[in-house]
Subunit: 344 residues, 2 copies
């Protein structure tokens, strides 16, 4: 079924004018007489004329739309980021195209390829946990395509980046556990090569050392899909609990890891915080309704989306190639609730 829209030609034909005149009348050019303008404008209104953005894009070599690649929109953190992105983009007249990698490198590649082949003016991306090879993004960046990274960043590509002080988040969470009396603190993180994993675990390690507690690598487990699949969390926790010195607290360094820990404890009849304490990165807005209510490190997701978008639009609208790039760092918030009550 084809849908035929009205074009500038239809107006020109009906009114006995040329397309140039109609175009100019619609754009309120000084070269067109007031009467002609009025006539064109009224007729355009009458037949509900809308300029074809596709044709405009072709001519202007810009689409006034930006692309987003996130792991999962179902993840509260990402949906909050997206809301932040939208809030700025719409203000500036940009449209937003959202795609999901589902933590798959292949999907990410597909999405980036599609988006980049001229249907967007710039890209906001938080790479999938599977993504080690960055050449797809590197190529684009080298050819001057505007890219801004948020949350998960890549050292080898020099462009604007927006991150949360993950190290501080990990540090504060761990410090809180230590000060609440926990002694065997395990950490659960996303894959190692991901920037946020390194930093969050780095903060965890620093907090331990600052409090004269030994860092034990066997207490740190990594999950390939960031907890997206329950089984990987189950496996990690199983192995933790099989060790001779069982953990009495867990620091989970990602949203899905945190909730899947809780799911695991519930399934196994392990009580939180009596048997084990739990704190994690999470942006879900139900953490205080959980059983027990969850202590979390919360990221300023909405703000992150806003900042990233502003940076990207700067890149897009800059006249000259940008060579100086910023990395903005936002601060996480620590929320203390029942899941890390002081150890008795």
């Amino acid at each position: 079924m084809k849908y035929e829209a009205v074009t500038i030609k239809d107006i020109a034909k009906e009114l006995g004018l040329s397309t140039s005149t109609v175009s100019r009348a619609l754009r309120d050019s000084y070269e067109i007489s007031p009467e002609t303008k009025k006539m064109v404008l009224e007729y355009a209104e009458k037949i509900n004329y809308r300029p074809n953005p596709i044709a405009l894009s072709l001519k202007e070599k810009r689409t006034r739309s930006i692309g987003i690649v996130v792991a999962e929109i179902a993840n509260s953190f990402f949906s909050q980021v997206i809301n932040g992105i939208e809030s700025i983009a719409y203000d500036k007249g940009y449209n937003v195209i959202i795609t999901q990698s589902h933590e798959s490198f292949e999907r990410e590649l597909m999405n980036v390829q599609y988006l980049a082949s001229r249907s967007i003016d710039g890209l906001l991306i938080s790479p999938s946990s599977e993504t080690e090879d960055m050449s797809h993004l590197k190529h684009l960046h080298e050819r001057g395509f505007p890219i801004v990274f948020f949350d998960r960043i890549v050292d080898e590509i020099d462009t604007h980046k927006v991150i949360v002080d993950s190290r501080k988040g990990g540090y504060d969470a761990t410090k809180h556990l230590i000060e609440s009396g926990y002694k065997q603190i395990a950490a659960l993180a996303n894959v190692e090569y991901l920037s946020i994993s390194r930093d969050r675990v780095g903060g965890y390690q620093a907090a331990l050392e600052d409090h004269n507690m030994k860092y034990d690598a066997s207490l740190v487990k990594h999950c390939l899909h960031g907890g997206l699949v329950y089984e990987e969390v189950e496996k990690a926790l199983d192995s933790l609990f099989k060790q001779k010195k069982k953990p009495d607290a867990i620091f989970a360094a990602a949203d899905k890891l945190t909730t899947n820990c809780l799911r695991y404890f519930k399934a196994k009849g392990i009580r939180v915080p009596q048997d084990i304490a739990l704190i994690g990165f999470s942006n879900i807005d139900l953490t205080e309704l959980l059983s027990p209510s969850l202590s979390v490190v919360r990221q300023p997701a909405f703000e992150m989306g806003q900042v990233a978008t502003e940076l990207l639009l700067n890149l897009i609208e800059s006249k000259r190639p940008v060579k100086d790039f910023d990395t903005k760092m936002l601060q996480p918030d620590l929320f203390i609730r029942e899941s890390t009550s002081r150890k008795k």
Copy 2:
């Protein structure tokens, strides 16, 4: 900063061919000699040529992309629907553009206008709770623009629709409350003119009557934004608890209503299910981790997205105007947990 992509012209110039020849070589036309083909293909590969989808769209009058309008992607139900949509769309080579109305009519209008002005081939929409006037969609539909409604449908527009048997969902939830011994069952719903509200409350009413319990309109409250803002839920519950016959159970007819009820009870120190039972429509995957774990009516969101997309693609790819429209009805699932334990 402008990003210059490689075009077919660059290849033609470099190889001393015409653009037609290059185009045909790339599309593997029989009219081109094997040697020329090889040469073109290799050079295209070398400079990483990608056809410009904008130019193709202009010529073919189709963009191979579909638009989505939902209230909130942060809502689990919608993000699951979107995943269902994507799963089908990508298989068929369609791209997906997601927009959010945030339950605002104005935002919905903006999004639909943008999407429809020729940048998408079809529309999947679940109108905002504020939307009473459907003329923006009606106009499009009358001009043959493919639209499929899901979840929230509109009687006055005759096109494909995908819904969940909301009446059955409301009926089953209410029946479960009755059979668990609750006597004063209140209902909290989205705005009245929304199809799903009518049906869910309709099911609630039918269940009461089938069990010889009087339907009391004062026990049914509506929230303009479907519980998106906590205050409207607070107000509705306040007024319910001020009545002389206080409810001993609540049936919440939307995701946000359900969780905000829980939030309210927690804030007021009202125990669930001892003081009041709670059951609601919800698609969040944390309901069993809540305190108490939540009895819910769950909708087959992913499947709904798949079915809606299949219907839409049928419309788009149909040669002749479609006059016969389907309304597919999917079945909800009832999950019984602690929040509706039998009354003592």
